[in-house]
Symmetry: C2
Subunit: 221 residues, 2 copies
Amino acid sequence: MCDEIIEQKIDITTSVMNKNDLFAAENRGFLKGKGIYTLNLISSPGAGKTTVLESMAHYFGSRMAVIEGDIQTRRDAERIEKAGCQAWQIETGGACHLDAHAVKHAMDQMELDSDILELLAIENVGNLICPSGYDLGENLRIGLLSVPEGDDKILKYPSLFSTINVLVINKMDLLPHLDFDVDRAIEECRSLNPDVLVFTVSAKTGEGMEEFCDFVESNYS
Amino acid sequence: MCDEIIEQKIDITTSVMNKNDLFAAENRGFLKGKGIYTLNLISSPGAGKTTVLESMAHYFGSRMAVIEGDIQTRRDAERIEKAGCQAWQIETGGACHLDAHAVKHAMDQMELDSDILELLAIENVGNLICPSGYDLGENLRIGLLSVPEGDDKILKYPSLFSTINVLVINKMDLLPHLDFDVDRAIEECRSLNPDVLVFTVSAKTGEGMEEFCDFVESNYS
């Protein structure tokens, strides 16, 4: 790409990111004020974010609310509502990630005043790259990697895996059918991010999900 | 996102896209001049683009060259070279898609003068969103969707699936272990894109790959 375009891109990116950081700080303060702990879930399309959240809905019930980010369709919000949680769908209409202003706008329209509510989970747009640059005001950033994607993905997408607090390896039920080296994936993630916590789960079968939910709850209770 | 930021984004995007279209036109002319037919493969991370290309390498041998796009690592180019084809790795260093100028720059450094060479396959960065807006100068745009990603992905990522010439559904060997409705995926793709051609394959087992390679070859021979 020619220098001129690169320069323009850097200027505009810096400006957008600074504004995002201000909205993220406001979100973090607002959520702290309400006593709500917040997660930002990031993964490829189809790694199982919504299935993980459905499983979490069975554990947390109405103590959890969910913001769903998708380019298009209300499908994921409908799944979460069926699982028993309040859900708000953001359709980005083309944007490849959520930003803090979109999350603020969603929160303005949700019912966040309940005394029971203690957890807000934000499911980002399915994308291993662009969401990693946008703080949404979350307390915990969670990266999901699913077994069928392959154990080589961590070092190929370092902008995400170097900035997460927790790595969740999902679809462990498919391990017998695939060549995926769990130890390699964890080792490569720790090479980028020594303090990352790791959970191995199958949201479909429920394997490992109670331990993961216990961990989430222990962060704020 | 506030109006001011949206306006800035539109201006800069238009400018970048116009420049990209010029480079893409130049690439298309250059490749036509050399008698090389070109594919642009786009999918999520881990949908199997590189495994499809390894399988194609066994069919086309030195008649095919490959450009690999990744944020980081030379892993994919090394796999293609082992499979017997010339490969050039573009490490985008953070950019979430390839653009036509990066492809032009790669081609300038590759050996494209061979009389045997007839096919150039470009593996885009693993991302279902951002690459779809960038013409690279290809003749055929191919979208890969893998069975573990789920049959609901087409309508969630319409910017890609409405602009592809060919849909390849990969990892068909995992169909017995997953709830994936092939007919639903094809029907939803045709609702966006009535003329799309569809192939169902398993690049890992080889199922359907000869038919797909025959099809690619028939486009230019």
